[in-house]
C-alpha cells in the first residue's frame, strides 16, 4: 500500500522535501511506518522525538494506516 507522508520543520530538511510516498506491506501501523522512515532517513534517529499525526491528531504506535489517511511526521515542536 502507498502511504503519502508530509513533513514540517527539520523533518523537511532531512527528507529534502515536504512530502514523500512510501510503499509498505499491509497491514501497516504507525510503528511500522516509523521504522521504515528511520531506516530510510537515519538522521531522524538524532532528533529528540518523532511523532506521527494521522488526520490532524497525534497517533499512537498501534494505529493502523489506510492509504486515504493524511499522515504527517511531527519533529520536536518549538512554538511560543
Amino acid at each position: 500500500m502507498n502511504i503519502q507522508i508530509r513533513f514540517f520543520g527539520i523533518a523537511k530538511d532531512i527528507v529534502g522535501g515536504s512530502t514523500c510516498e512510501l510503499l509498505l506491506k499491509p497491514p501497516c501501523s504507525v510503528a511500522t511506518l516509523r521504522k521504515s522512515l528511520m531506516t530510510l532517513y537515519p538522521a531522524f534517529g538524532d532528533l529528540k522525538s518523532i511523532m506521527i499525526a494521522v488526520n490532524d491528531e497525534y497517533a499512537t504506535d498501534d494505529v493502523q494506516l489506510a492509504t486515504s489517511d493524511d499522515v504527517v511526521l511531527i519533529p520536536p515542536v518549538s512554538g511560543g
Binding site: G9, E57, V77, S78, G79
Partner: protein, 140 residues
C-alpha cells in the same frame, strides 16, 4: 479584523485586540502572556526567527488547551494567537489572554496554556544566526 479566539497569522499580532476578545463582565482578572523574539541564544546573535505551522492541527491543539484549561480553572474566555512566517527581533510571536473571576486562576491558566503550547502545538521555530540556522529544540 480577526475575532477568533484561536488563530494563526502571518500578520502582526495586536495585544489590545486579543485582550478585548477575552473581556467578560463577570471576570475580575485578565492575564496576558506575550512571547517576543529575543536577540540572542546562548550568547549568539539572532538575526530573525522563522516560524512554520501545521495550521489545521495547530488550531485543533490550541483549542484543546483552552478546553483543558476550562476544566481546571473557572476560565471565562481564553484566546491564543500565534504568528508564523519571518519575525524580526522584538516582534510578538504568541499572545495568550485569559479571563477569570479572580486573578490567581488567570495566572495559573495562562502559564498552563503557554507551557502546554510549547509541548503539543505543531509549530516550529528556526533561529537564523549570522553564520547559520538552527531548528529550535530539535536535537537532545
Amino acid at each position: 479584523m480577526v475575532d477568533k479566539l484561536v488563530h494563526i497569522s502571518d500578520k502582526v499580532l495586536d495585544v489590545q485586540r486579543i485582550v478585548d476578545l477575552v473581556h467578560s463582565d463577570s471576570a475580575g482578572a485578565i492575564d496576558v502572556f506575550v512571547g517576543t523574539v529575543r536577540n540572542s541564544t546562548k550568547g549568539k546573535k539572532v538575526m530573525r526567527l522563522e516560524f512554520e505551522s501545521y495550521d489545521i492541527m495547530a488550531i485543533k491543539e490550541m483549542q484543546k488547551i483552552i478546553n483543558q484549561a476550562k476544566i481546571q480553572w473557572p476560565v471565562e474566555k481564553m484566546a491564543i494567537h500565534h504568528r508564523k512566517g519571518i519575525l524580526s527581533i522584538g516582534e510578538v510571536a504568541v499572545i495568550i489572554a485569559v479571563s477569570t473571576p479572580h486573578r490567581k486562576a488567570s495566572f495559573e491558566a495562562c502559564q498552563y496554556a503557554i507551557d502546554t503550547l510549547k509541548e503539543t502545538v505543531p509549530i516550529w521555530k528556526k533561529e537564523v544566526f549570522e553564520d547559520g540556522e538552527v531548528w529550535v529544540a530539535a536535537h537532545p
